[in-house]
């Protein structure tokens, strides 16, 4: 009898692993588009938008980390350094009721519209509409209407399994694989070690609340869970940018903000080409050289993340260092004119996957990392 039960649990778990892997890919897929918007504005000429996007990106990285912690806690294994892990941008996000594209495009109204689509809370009616999907490789398919509902389904799955098979059988992952709050993290929220149902549900709540707001509210739950300053959730923060006005105490989810007006300088952006690809740039051009370097760096970075979430948690500090390198390299790319647009547009970070055996060492790669990143 117990063999059958065990077998059933294993089958359920396969499904759970798949969903959590999708969660990781989903969290990751938002990062390049958010970064592109972040890189194409200036801290001084768009201070508000710069800070909003910066903190959202940081929190998306937290979400990805939390999703990995949950997957590891239930005995799964995050797969990060693999060609399917990166969507081809513009990426298709395929929800139950709509699908739309999210691209690597410069900071603009269409970019923020797509971000609002991504972060849309269940109860929220969109007052914007992102681009309809044209259908691309590796779409991210969700059976639910929002990210919140997607995570809600995972929650139900976890609760069901714990009720059926007991907490210990469900959360049988190796604890040493967890990323702990002692590791680096530098923004709102905190890393949560997941080792039982309670912590798994908490981690999911943090992810959902930071994105969509704690149920029926424009605020996330950082204040409740971590004693941090009250913070407006991602969807609403993007809406603040979109309408140029902050929310204030008492504002409700389905109404526009009524707080302080903020200046959004839609014109003060870097004129980056849409969805840059290294191969679009002439061989030998500055744009091509830096784009190739960027893809190399990005792929090295994914490898490092993969190792981080598969037992070498202390590598996260190095991954963070690489992220800063990516930021500085992206700023160089954004100084490189693209030849066939007569210099009116510039290149940008392509976020393309380089297979392991085609990765190169660069002089900017930290020595200690070189051995970690070598193909094995």
């Amino acid at each position: 009898m117990w063999i059958k039960t065990y077998h059933m649990l294993a089958t359920y778990k396969e499904e759970l692993f798949k969903n959590l892997q999708t969660a990781i890919e989903l969290e990751h897929s938002t990062i390049p588009p958010y970064l592109a918007a972040f890189f194409t504005i200036n801290q001084d000429t768009n201070a508000f938008a710069w800070e909003v996007i910066r903190s959202v990106v940081m929190e998306e990285m937290l979400h990805m980390t939390l999703a990995c912690n949950i997957l590891n806690a239930v005995g799964g294994q995050p797969f990060i350094d693999n060609p399917k892990f990166i969507p081809e941008y513009p990426a298709e996000l395929n929800f139950a009721d709509r699908k739309f594209d999210v691209g690597i495009i410069k900071f603009s109204k269409p970019a923020i519209e797509a971000f609002l689509e991504i972060e849309k809370p269940s109860e929220q009616k969109l007052n914007v509409k992102g681009e309809d999907s044209k259908g691309f490789l590796h779409p991210i398919n969700l059976d639910e209407k929002t990210i919140g509902e997607f995570y809600e389904a995972i929650k139900k799955q976890l609760i069901y399994l714990v009720e059926e098979y007991g907490e210990e059988s469900v959360f049988d992952g190796n604890l040493t694989l967890q990323i702990t709050p002692k590791e680096y993290y530098g923004s709102g929220g905190e890393i949560i070690v997941v080792n039982n149902l309670e912590t798994a549900l908490l981690a999911i709540d943090v992810i959902v609340d930071q994105g969509e707001g704690a149920s029926g509210s424009i605020y996330d739950s950082d204040e409740t869970y971590f004693g941090q300053d009250q913070e407006v959730a991602h969807y609403y923060r993007f809406n603040e940018i979109y309408v140029g006005q902050k929310y204030q105490e008492g504002d409700r989810p389905n109404e526009n903000p009524t707080g302080e007006k903020v200046t959004i300088n839609w014109k003060a952006t870097v004129n980056m080409v849409d969805n840059p690809k290294a191969s679009d740039f002439a061989i030998g051009s500055a744009a091509r050289t830096k784009a190739d370097e960027f893809n190399q760096l990005y792929s090295h970075f994914l490898r490092l993340l993969h190792l981080t979430f598969n037992g070498q948690s202390s590598l996260i500090v190095k991954a963070v260092g690489m992220m800063y390198q990516m930021k500085h390299l992206a700023s160089e790319l954004l100084n490189c004119p693209v030849a066939d647009t007569k210099g009116s547009k510039v290149a940008g970070p392509p976020f393309e996957y380089i297979p392991l055996d085609q990765r190169k060492q660069f002089d900017w790669l930290v020595t200690e990392l070189a051995s970690e990143l070598e193909p094995q």
Binding site: Y184, A286, G321, L333, D363, E368
Partner: protein, 157 residues
């Protein structure tokens, strides 16, 4: 085969690659090429900049990123030429420090802009980052320095 004459800004790009020892991608990546061209044009005495560019155009350098020994010899002559010596030093300092340096002790020296300071090539050349910018991230200072160490085989050639 005759190559079409280069625009002054293209000659300046070539000169900048040769003088700084950085790649074309690094030079363009600073976003400062046109600004520096204009600064030098304004600061150098009438005509000197274009005379220098004219001289540079005459020197054949097949690949400015990897000048041959002979090519380097020709450039060295230009660098030590009494007429251009100061200007060339100022151009290198402009690229390396983002600053127009009349003389190291002059109080007329000025930083072109915040961007020029942050894009100063000196920081890249010492495998660091500008003090106060392009931060490398938490804890990175505890790692071994970057790989192109002088005692490794990766030495720049």
């Amino acid at each position: 085969m005759k190559t079409p004459p280069l625009e002054p800004i293209e000659v300046f790009e070539k000169l900048s690659i040769i003088l700084t020892g950085f790649s074309k991608a690094d030079i363009i990546g600073t976003g400062m090429l046109q600004t520096y061209f204009d600064t030098i044009h304004t600061e150098l005495e009438e005509g000197l900049f274009f005379e220098l560019l004219f001289e540079v155009q005459k020197i054949t350098v097949t690949n400015p990123e990897q000048p041959s020994t002979d090519e380097l010899q020709n450039i060295s002559e230009l660098v030590s030429h009494s007429k251009y010596e100061t200007a060339i030093s100022q151009i290198i300092q402009l690229w390396y420090l983002g600053e127009w340096v009349f003389s190291p002790t002059s109080d007329q020296n000025y930083i072109i802009s915040s961007q020029s300071y942050l894009e100063g090539l000196i920081w890249k050349s010492i495998a660091a980052h500008p003090m106060g910018g392009k931060q490398p991230g938490f804890g990175t200072w505890g790692f071994a320095p970057l790989t192109f160490s002088s005692d490794s085989t990766n030495k720049l050639t």
